[in-house]
């Protein structure tokens, strides 16, 4: 799995590429923790290039959302479709996250967060 981070104003987006399984989840958790510690509170995780997410992947998303909330920020997910959307529904976790169609909309939504 690969991660690409992009700063867009006060929002940081992390594009995930590949499989978000237990190995990928550890990498993503470490990156999110690092960003929050560095003062980033508004996070977008872009799923446009993700083909698979397991229970471990969902766990790290729940942790990331909680970390962002504690830092008075927010987490938004973008680019969820096809098989990944099916897996979110399967885990009954779709309602737990702020999900927007694409990264640009998610960044815009978080840029206005708290205003």
């Amino acid at each position: 799995m690969e991660l690409a981070t992009m700063q867009e104003g006060a929002v940081v987006s992390v594009a995930v590429k590949g499989r978000l399984d237990s190995v990928g989840a550890d990498l993503l958790k470490a990156r999110v923790s690092q960003l929050i510690e560095a003062g980033t509170a508004r996070l977008v995780i872009d799923f446009a290039q993700v083909a698979y997410i397991s229970s471990a992947g969902f766990r790290v998303l729940l942790i990331a959302a909680k970390l962002a909330e504690h830092a008075n920020g927010a987490l938004a997910l973008a680019g969820i479709g096809g098989e990944v959307k099916r897996l979110f529904d399967l885990a009954a976790l779709t309602e737990m996250f702020t999900i927007l169609p694409d990264r640009a909309q998610a960044v815009e939504a978080l840029a206005n967060h708290g205003r």
């Binding site: 499989r19 698979y52 397991s54 229970s55 729940l62 909680k66 399967l90 885990a91 009954a92």
Partner: protein, 566 residues
């Protein structure tokens, strides 16, 4: 059956009477395009023009009976779908051969034979499931579209056809343009009646452009308004030498019926996954009975109208009530020779434009059915060869010239040749295809990609639905990931996948502790903080992912069975 979002009036719904009536007229107008087959056959048989309308009226009565047999369920007969009957290209070459060889009596005798044979074949369709897989049904639908579309183009532009005049191009453009514009940008009634309005626009254009000339007006004027259908031309004879071409046509008709009814099933059900062979069997029985009745009553062979089904998909009206209207209109036409003659003299440009419009929907339906399955090299070769073979027959019409009497009918029709080629290659390629596959994973090398590759490869060999294969692959990957840390203690993890057309069972076994498959999801806080809850989330997802899960542990060996309906 779940109503798809694009349907306005589904199978069991009752549209307003005006919608029913106008849709009925539209379908009859479309089916009238196929009058070209009996008209050509009867002309070749020497039936005088003055008698042609009367003979066509007998044919309309046959279509009325066959439509009712198909859309109603009479015991084991009839699919119950809005799938009207039509004259067909399938019997065209065999019928021409019959009238050349032994006149009308041989044509009707052989048509009766073909109908009885198709009805007999219908009874065996369930047992023939393995040799009639879904992707071949898709190929048959595609080939019906291909052969029909090319026949239309050939009639308009082929070397044997009269040169196309500027006026004809305009009439064809107006007909096709009206249909497309109303279908793409029209709303409500305009969209539903796009083909009929296009036909009327085409007739009006043809009259204004001088394509509906004195000859056509005279033919219509000389035909009476009311008359009973004429059966004096009917007699029967049989020639064993023609049994093969009619048998092949009958197999193709059964295949086409199954394919057309698969389209009916698909457009009426948002949850459609495979052809319902029980309904297809009743449909093929009705179709065979219809052709047998055609032979008895002095008409050419009939078949389910794929263009009509394409039209119902395009308009969003698949109500069975429309089929009753179609049958009623056929009866009216059977009693009104003047109207039959008006349709019989439809200008070429209008006829071909309408045909091309509906063929588009048939072609894409066929492609969609074919691509609903994973295709390995064998299936790719079967479908590719069938399509290429059919295209070769169309492109090289002389290739069967020296093939001999037995093979000539096979090479004389792209639909028949492509279908028979696909069936034969499918039978050959079944050799060596096991329905069971094993994969063993070691603890240190349980790569997800290996699991993915295993399922994709086996799915393609089996011709399984890609969606089911994706679910199975996810199930195994998630289970392996969940048990790897704490449950899978030692030794290899064995995966056995078993497939038939209706089931995919995946059984995993390993030594260690059994994973739980709870009915409810753990809460978010527990998922974040508790390792057990994380495993429960995996078990919960796996239970949701499969249609059935069974697990057991015995002597330290755990076994998990995922069942997927296919």
């Amino acid at each position: 059956m779940k109503k798809p979002a694009n349907l306005i009036y589904a199978l069991e719904e009752r549209p307003p009477w005006l919608v029913v009536a106008l849709n009925g007229v539209q379908h009859v107008g479309l089916i009238a395009i196929n009058l070209v087959y009996p008209v050509l056959v009867f002309r070749l048989a020497g039936v005088p023009a003055s008698m042609l309308a009367s003979v066509l009226c007998a044919g309309f009565l046959v279509l009325a009976i066959a439509t009712m047999l198909q859309c109603r369920r009479f015991g084991p007969i009839g699919s119950g779908y809005m799938c009207p009957a039509t004259f067909t290209a399938t019997y065209f070459s065999a019928s021409l051969l019959a009238v050349k060889t032994g006149g009308l009596s041989l044509l009707f005798g052989m048509t009766l034979f073909a109908g009885v044979l198709e009805a007999a074949l219908a009874r065996g369709l369930q047992r023939m499931r393995a040799i009639l897989p879904t992707e071949i049904s898709g190929a048959v639908i595609f080939l019906v579209g291909l052969s029909g579309g090319i026949a239309g183009m050939r009639a308009m532009l082929g070397t044997g056809a009269a040169p196309v005049s500027t006026a004809e191009w305009w009439a064809a453009g107006i007909t096709l343009g009206s249909m497309i514009a109303l279908n793409v940008w029209g709303r409500g009634l305009l969209r539903m009646l796009c083909a009929f309005i296009g036909l009327v626009a085409g007739y009006v254009a043809a009259v204004l452009l001088g394509l509906f000339g004195a000859e056509q007006w005279q033919a219509v004027a000389q035909t009476p308004w009311l008359a009973l259908p004429e059966f004096s031309h009917v007699s029967w004879s049989f020639d064993a030498a023609l049994a093969l071409p009619f048998a092949i046509a009958s197999v193709a008709a059964a295949m086409k019926t199954v394919g057309t009814l698969a389209v009916c099933q698909r457009i009426n059900d948002a949850d459609w996954v495979r052809p319902d062979l029980a309904s297809a069997t009743r449909g093929a029985l009705a179709d065979g009975a219809g052709t047998a009745i055609a032979g008895l009553m002095g008409a050419v062979g009939i078949n389910t109208s794929t263009p009509s089904v394409g039209l119902s998909s395009a308009t969003g009206v698949t109500s069975r009530v429309v089929a009753y209207a179609v049958a009623a209109l056929f009866v009216v036409l059977a009693l009104m020779p003047k109207l039959a003659m008006l349709l019989a003299v439809m200008p070429r440009a209008v006829l071909v434009a309408a045909l091309l419009f509906v063929i588009c929907f048939i072609l894409i339906s066929g492609l969609q059915v074919m691509s609903s399955r994973l295709l390995d090299a064998r299936r790719t070769l079967v479908l590719g060869s069938a399509i290429l073979g059919a295209a070769a027959v169309e492109a090289l019409p002389g290739m069967g010239a020296n093939a001999g009497a037995g093979l000539a009918p096979l090479l004389g029709s792209s639909l028949v040749f492509g279908t028979v080629l696909a069936l034969a290659m499918n039978l050959v390629f079944r050799i060596g295809v096991g329905q069971k596959a094993l994969l063993t994973l070691e603890r240190g090398a349980a790569e997800a990609q290996k699991i993915e590759d295993f399922f994709v490869a086996r799915g393609a060999v089996w011709g399984a639905r890609s969606e089911v294969i994706r679910r199975a692959a996810f199930g195994v990957q998630q289970l392996v990931e969940a048990v790897l840390e704490n449950c899978w203690r030692e030794g290899p993890l064995a995966i056995e996948a078993r497939f038939d057309e209706f089931n995919l069972d995946v059984e995993l076994s390993y030594r260690g502790e059994l994973l739980e498959f709870p009915l409810t999801r753990p809460n978010e806080r527990d998922i974040r903080e508790d390792e057990h809850a994380l495993r429960h989330l995996a078990g919960f997802m796996l239970r949701q992912n499969a249609d059935r899960v069974h697990s057991e542990a015995k002597d330290g060996r755990c076994s998990v069975l995922f069942h997927f309906d296919h």
